[in-house]
Structure formats: structure tokens, C-alpha cells
């Protein structure tokens, strides 16, 4: 009995395709997000607000931190603080807020950092922040994509298959990036 290669090609294309759906969606969304990194921050929503704290005269670092925390009604713990230059203090609150304050005028900013919902995690996977085992998982996914691309060429026979319109569409898909390469490189 002859080996039915097209049947197996289509079965593998279908099932590997199902497996690749999740990660393809994640990579595609993240790809768009990081493609525009010059225009926005794809990982975090950072909000900044000007603040004015009343700081008692000659207050030491501990007192400045206490007053700032109290006056801003911040309920998360203080992680640490830092003096970047005389007359300035930066107070770090666990995972969320950073206060930058002029200790003489009491004027400063409070910055709140929040991971973008889902997008941070999508970028985490797509840009391989994790490294370690995920590197190999992503390699397997890349090989799967390669297989899907090639096997996809042979799913259909006839006029709508590769030998029909498929070869022209495939050629356009290859020529397009080449044109951009010629123009921009």
C-alpha cells in the first residue's frame, strides 16, 4: 500500500496547528506591542503625579519617610530609600510606588508602576525573559511554525493548491520582505 503522504501532511498540519494556536496568538499580540516600543511602554502603565509634602524642619530621613507615607496615605510597606543628591530623597514602596522628593520644598512626584494586563506576560514569553527551559520550548514552537508553513503549502491539491494560485501567493509573500530589505538595508 502506497504511503499517503498528503493525508499525513494534513493530519500533522491540523494537529500541530491546534497546538500552536495559543502561542501564535501570544506572539502576534506581543509582536505588535513591542514593534511600537518607541511610541509607548508595552510592559508597564506608569502614572506620575506631582505631590507636596509638609516636611518638619530638620527632619531626618526616617521622619521624612514617615511623613510622606502618612500624608500620601500609602498602605504598602517601605522597601528602602535612597539619597541621589543633597536635598533629595527617593522612597521605594514594595512593588508599586516610588516617591521622589525635594526635602527642602517638599515638592516631588509619586510614580505608580503597574504591569500591563496580559501584555506583560505575553512579552515575558515572546521576548524570552524567562530564559532557562522556556528557551527550548520556544525553539520547539519555532520548529512547529516552520513545519506548519511548509506543510501548509501541500494541504490542497489542484487549482487552489500550491501548483495553482498557491505558488503565486507564496512568491508574493517572499518578494514583499525582500523589497523592504532592498529599500531599507
Amino acid at each position: 500500500m502506497a504511503f499517503k503522504w498528503r493525508k499525513w501532511n494534513n493530519i500533522l498540519h491540523r494537529d500541530i496547528g491546534y497546538l500552536a494556536v495559543g502561542l501564535t496568538i501570544i506572539y502576534a499580540i506581543s509582536g505588535i506591542a513591542v514593534n511600537h516600543i518607541d511610541q509607548w511602554n508595552p510592559n508597564y502603565v506608569i502614572s506620575q503625579e506631582t505631590i507636596k509634602i509638609h516636611i518638619p524642619e530638620n527632619a531626618k530621613t526616617g521622619r521624612i519617610i514617615d511623613e510622606t507615607t502618612r500624608q500620601l496615605n500609602i498602605e504598602v510597606p517601605v522597601e528602602s530609600s535612597f539619597r541621589p543628591e543633597p536635598g533629595r530623597i527617593r522612597i521605594f514602596y514594595t512593588n508599586q510606588y516610588t516617591v521622589d522628593l525635594n526635602t527642602k520644598s517638599g515638592i516631588g512626584t509619586i510614580e505608580r508602576v503597574k504591569e500591563r494586563f496580559l501584555l506583560y506576560d505575553f512579552n515575558f514569553l515572546h521576548l524570552n525573559y524567562a530564559k532557562k527551559l522556556w528557551t527550548y520550548a520556544a525553539d520547539v514552537y519555532a520548529v512547529a511554525l516552520l513545519f506548519l508553513a511548509v506543510s501548509g503549502l501541500f494541504v490542497l491539491k489542484g487549482r487552489k493548491g500550491f501548483k495553482g494560485r498557491g505558488k503565486w501567493l507564496t512568491a508574493i509573500g517572499i518578494i514583499l520582505p525582500v523589497i523592504f530589505l532592498i529599500i531599507y538595508k
Partner: protein, 158 residues
């Protein structure tokens, strides 16, 4: 025989437990740290040229992180008003922005960067944009030289 949903639950639990165990002693970035001794940031900044080209490990609080790419972080020195920048290759290590304020160990090669006038202007413009400050190119009179640790690995403690 276990069905697919049970397998998924088992895999999720095993992965979560493994990652919790791994993070007990701080989260490792890049190649982690391998040297046994730390060098004080104040010592390095006192005579930076003496350390150029050397592999060093430094310790300090993270006081700033690259907001978009996580490609650098600044560690506070052991003395007031001192910081040292740890710069890593884009994408090779990504420092999370939420790590500001946390304690970290970083290892890398200390380097001196001498910029041209054009590079200086670009760098200062980028810095101003990142910090929401105004930038006036006419105020820049001479090219910049700075020092940094070319980071190879780090450990950030919770």
C-alpha cells in the same frame, strides 16, 4: 488513565513549585553571580580607571531601572549620593521595573565609555525623554565620558 486536563494540572503544579523553590535565595538573572567577593562601589568610583577591564561583583539597592527594556539598572553605592549603572545587552537580561528599592548583587566587566559629541547629545536627549525633562542641546559643551558595569549576571533579593 489520566486525561489531558489532569496532566495539565500536574504540570502547572510542578512548574509553580519549582519556580518557588528557585526564588527562595533571590531571583537569578543572566549567568547569576560567580565571584566570591564584592567590590565596594565607593572604591570603584574613587579610582575608576584602576578597575577598567576587571570582572567585578557589586552589591547595592536598585535605585533605577530602564523603564521600557529593562536593559540597565542603577545600584546605590555604600556611600550617599553614589550610583553605578549595570548595563546589559538588550534582551539578554531584563530587569523588572518593580525591582526598584530591592537589594541586588551584580557581576560584570567594568568599562569606560567615551562618547563623541554626537553620541553625547543623543544620550542626553534620550535620558531627558525618559525622565520627562526638557533637553537643550546648546547647554552641552563637551563630550561625555562615563563608567559602567557591563552586566553578565545578577541576583535580586525579595
Amino acid at each position: 488513565m489520566l486525561n489531558i486536563s489532569k496532566w495539565l494540572i500536574i504540570i502547572t503544579v510542578v512548574f509553580s513549585a519549582t519556580s518557588l523553590l528557585a526564588e527562595e535565595d533571590g531571583k537569578v538573572y543572566g549567568k547569576g553571580v560567580t565571584l566570591e567577593d564584592t567590590t565596594q562601589i565607593s572604591d570603584i568610583l574613587a579610582t575608576p580607571d584602576d578597575y577598567v577591564g576587571q570582572r567585578l561583583m557589586v552589591k547595592g539597592r536598585i535605585v533605577d531601572v530602564c523603564k521600557k527594556r529593562g536593559c540597565w539598572m542603577e545600584l546605590a553605592g555604600d556611600q550617599e549620593f553614589q550610583t553605578l549603572r549595570i548595563k546589559v545587552k538588550d534582551g539578554e537580561i531584563v530587569f523588572p521595573l518593580q525591582s526598584r528599592g530591592k537589594l541586588a548583587l551584580a557581576e560584570g566587566v567594568f568599562e569606560k565609555i567615551e562618547l563623541s559629541m554626537e553620541q553625547t547629545l543623543q544620550r542626553m536627549k534620550h535620558h531627558a525623554e525618559e525622565h520627562g525633562e526638557t533637553f537643550n542641546a546648546e547647554e552641552v559643551k563637551e563630550p561625555m565620558t562615563y563608567y559602567q558595569l557591563r552586566g553578565l549576571g545578577a541576583v535580586i533579593f525579595e
